[in-house]
């Protein structure tokens, strides 16, 4: 649940059900969680899968400290980070990924895979992800491949000169 709330902070989605507490509902449409962020984070090839327990415990420690610092009382029924509302989750992640934070690289690396789950579906074959209507690729308008699974764009050019070249261009087409 903490990991879902973490992923949802970067690419937020709408709640999957009325009682969804991990997804904060900060944006319309599916976000990183529904796009498969947890599945990607748990993929051994990422190199972060073995450290996810640390991500969860450290993040909740930070959330408790953040709540104490800001006088926020947390719901004990859910992990501390999940108990924060979206604005506070977002503020905490901005702090943890700030240039001067000692754990910055750790959090950015983990966030990277949350983004990749949404905008590349890196845990799936891309052609299958397109066929399955992967929410990130679909929302971005990623084009469908040809039947052989390769992309080609026969309509690709305005087909006309749209600017004059630099006057100092050499006859070979290089800068002078």
């Amino acid at each position: 649940m903490t990991l879902e709330a973490f992923a949802d902070t970067f690419v937020p989605g709408e709640k999957r059900s009325p009682d969804d507490v991990a997804v904060a509902g900060a944006a319309a449409g599916p976000g990183a969680v529904e796009a498969g962020a947890i599945k990607l984070l748990e993929t051994p090839a990422t190199g972060v899968a073995d450290g996810l327990d640390d991500v969860v415990s450290t993040l909740n420690d930070h959330a408790n400290s953040y709540a104490a610092e800001h006088g926020i009382s947390l719901d004990d029924a859910v992990p501390a980070f999940v108990a924060l509302d979206y604005e506070h989750r977002s503020a905490l992640m901005r702090a943890l990924t700030a240039p001067d934070h000692p754990e910055k690289e750790f959090w950015i690396l983990t966030a990277l895979f949350c983004f990749m789950a949404f905008d590349t579906a890196a845990h799936m074959d891309t052609v299958q992800a397109m066929e399955a209507g992967h929410p990130g690729l679909q929302m971005m308008g990623f084009a469908k491949p040809d039947p052989d699974g390769l992309w080609r764009f026969p309509d690709f050019s305005y087909g006309r000169q749209l600017s004059r070249p630099h006057p100092d261009t050499t006859p070979n087409g290089d800068p002078a």
Binding site: F10, G47, M140, F153, L162, S163, H166, P167
Partner: protein, 559 residues
């Protein structure tokens, strides 16, 4: 072809020449030296991937991660190739020649950074050799993909010029799929897999993929190159190791790796020149992403596709195709010169650092506004800045192996490069950002922001200068013949030899310098008893550019 020789208690393989790396610096030297008669072994840390294994896909483990490396440093992340063919397999094949003024740059050292022997004019015949070999061709407006067309039209609307740079692409074969960072499935991109490397192999050069060189030591009168064999799926794993002895070693592992190998060799080879691992340049690179207002693209620029859309074509094309060189101008002061090139970066690397327009401060790279920006991904236009930086990168102590501590099975690693942009570099970037904003936000055409440097520092796809040529031993690791100072018989021919940022894409200059270095390397090989001659034609047998350089050879072997 190699043979074994007895060296004390062990039996080591030996050959005439070992080439470390198979990108431009390695492939070009391997070809000429093999064609000239030397026994050449090329050690390449990445896999050897045939065209039909270049995937259209983002899944971890496909060619997009097999052949590509992203090494995060402290203030600078370096993106590069990791395969046989090196950068030529993953790059966008944009091949301009560097402008005249670049060769006169002084940077912060108070004297010309380039060797006195090298100017644009002096390099022209060597540019010609590469142009003939790859080959390089002109683009035409009829085949410029939509994003390039949009950038040209926006530049024109703002009173700027825009050019079609030359490319190493056969556009008649190109499908404009924009998967070229994962390798070209259609062999439209004229990578080194199609010219220098097969020609080198046909002349007997042996290419060994997944052989990552760790260091160089001495073995009697030869150099001993130490390598690990890397697992073909999990690059964090080593499956073996070995050594090979050679009379000449060419280091061409790329500007992010060459200095690391040399640093690690210092304990056994002796002190390295001061310039090894210093003066790194990211080629002044930086990106901005704009979200185009489709209605304005139609109304202001008069653009329309056959289906009636104005643009919505971010995904279509072949990387960068149109550039404005208005600020590639020698009359401007140093640190105010830059090219602005339309570019495509695939999602993932190309989306995370982009910041949502209209969000103030550091808050634009994630959250609801960023998601809204992604919803308009088809209307993105990304502009690539190639500016003048200050050669401020410095490599720290080498990691245990390779040039990075690998985090993921493939692609992601943590390296030892530190880069803190100086006021000069920041000034140049700020001017370039402002110029992009002026062009693209004019008349409401788009909203634009630079990518954040807060997450992975600055970033470059064109690492340079970390072991550079020059006349001054205090600020250059190599002499003008690319020989490592105080270590005769070791040559460096990759991007690390280029003295400074070029304000244009550097591959052609790297390649031309490698071509220019060959006569000197051949002489050094002959002096060590290797039966090798200089004078091979282009890989396909063409001879006009080869004939044109023959009169220049004597000047290149002078020390």
């Amino acid at each position: 072809m190699t043979t074994a020789r007895a060296t004390g208690s062990t039996s080591a393989e030996h050959t005439d020449i070992v080439v470390i790396g198979s990108g431009f610096g390695g492939a070009i030297t391997a070809y000429h030296l093999a064609a000239g008669g030397a026994k050449v072994v090329v050690l390449e840390r990445g896999p050897w991937v045939p065209s039909d294994e270049f995937d259209h896909g983002f899944e971890l483990g496909t060619s997009s991660t097999r052949i590509f490396d992203f090494v995060a440093g402290d203030g600078m992340s370096v993106l590069g190739g990791n395969c046989v063919g090196g950068g030529s397999v993953v790059y966008f094949a944009t091949m301009p020649r560097a402008p005249h003024f670049v060769f006169e740059r002084q940077g912060s050292i108070g004297r010309r950074m380039w060797p006195s022997a090298i100017t644009r004019d002096a390099l022209e015949p060597w540019y010609d050799r590469v142009a003939e070999a790859l080959p390089i061709s002109h683009q035409t407006w009829e085949r410029v993909p939509y994003p390039g067309g949009l950038w040209a039209a926006a530049c024109n609307h703002a009173g700027r010029t825009a050019n079609l740079p030359n490319v190493a692409i056969d556009t008649s074969l190109c499908t404009n799929c924009n998967w070229m960072m994962a390798g070209c499935r259609f062999d439209a991109k004229r990578s080194l897999l199609l010219n220098y490397l097969p020609a080198a192999v046909s002349h007997g050069a042996e290419i060994r993929p997944l052989h990552e060189v760790q260091k160089i030591s001495k073995a009697d009168d030869m150099y001993r190159v130490h390598y690990n064999v890397i697992d073909d799926e999990d690059y964090r794993e080593t499956t073996g190791s070995g050594v090979i002895d050679a009379k000449i070693v060419i280091v061409a592992a790329g500007a992010g790796a060459t200095p690391v190998i040399l640093q690690r060799s210092e304990a056994e080879l002796g002190k390295m020149p001061h310039g090894v691992g210093r003066y790194f340049s990211g080629n002044g690179e930086r990106l901005n992403t704009a979200v185009i207002d489709e209605d304005k693209a139609r109304e202001v620029l008069g653009l329309s596709r056959p289906d009636g859309r104005a643009y919505e074509a971010n995904q279509i094309g072949r990387g960068p195709t149109v550039v404005t060189w208005d600020h590639v101008d020698g009359s401007l002061p140093e640190y105010s010169r830059f090219a602005l090139e339309q570019l495509y970066f695939p999602p993932g690397l190309g989306t995370i650092l982009a910041q949502a327009p209209g969000v103030e401060g550091r808050h634009g790279w994630f959250g609801p506004e960023k998601k809204e920006m992604l919803r308009h991904w088809k209307s993105w236009l990304t502009i690539f800045i190639l500016a003048e930086d200050d050669n401020e990168g410095v490599f720290g102590p080498p990691p245990p192996t390779g040039n990075a501590v690998r985090i993921s099975q493939q692609m992601l690693g943590r390296g030892a490069l530190a880069y803190e942009p100086t006021a000069n570099t920041l000034h140049c970037w700020a001017q370039a950002d402002a110029e992009i904003k002026d062009i693209l936000e004019r008349d409401g055409l788009a909203r634009v922001r630079p990518w954040t440097n807060d997450l992975v520092g600055a970033y470059t796809v064109h690492p340079l200068s970390s072991c550079r040529i020059g006349d001054d031993p205090a600020t250059s690791a190599l002499d003008h013949r690319h020989e490592l100072r105080d270590h005769p018989g070791i040559f460096v021919t990759d991007g690390s030899a280029v003295p400074c940022a070029l304000t244009v894409n550097p591959a052609l200059t790297i390649a031309a310098l490698a071509e220019r270095a060959i006569p000197g390397i051949v002489l050094a090989a002959q002096e060590r008893g290797i039966p090798v001659k200089y004078g091979a034609p282009a890989p396909d047998g063409a001879t006009s550019a080869a004939r044109a350089v023959s009169s220049l050879v004597p000047s290149l072997v002078a020390r």
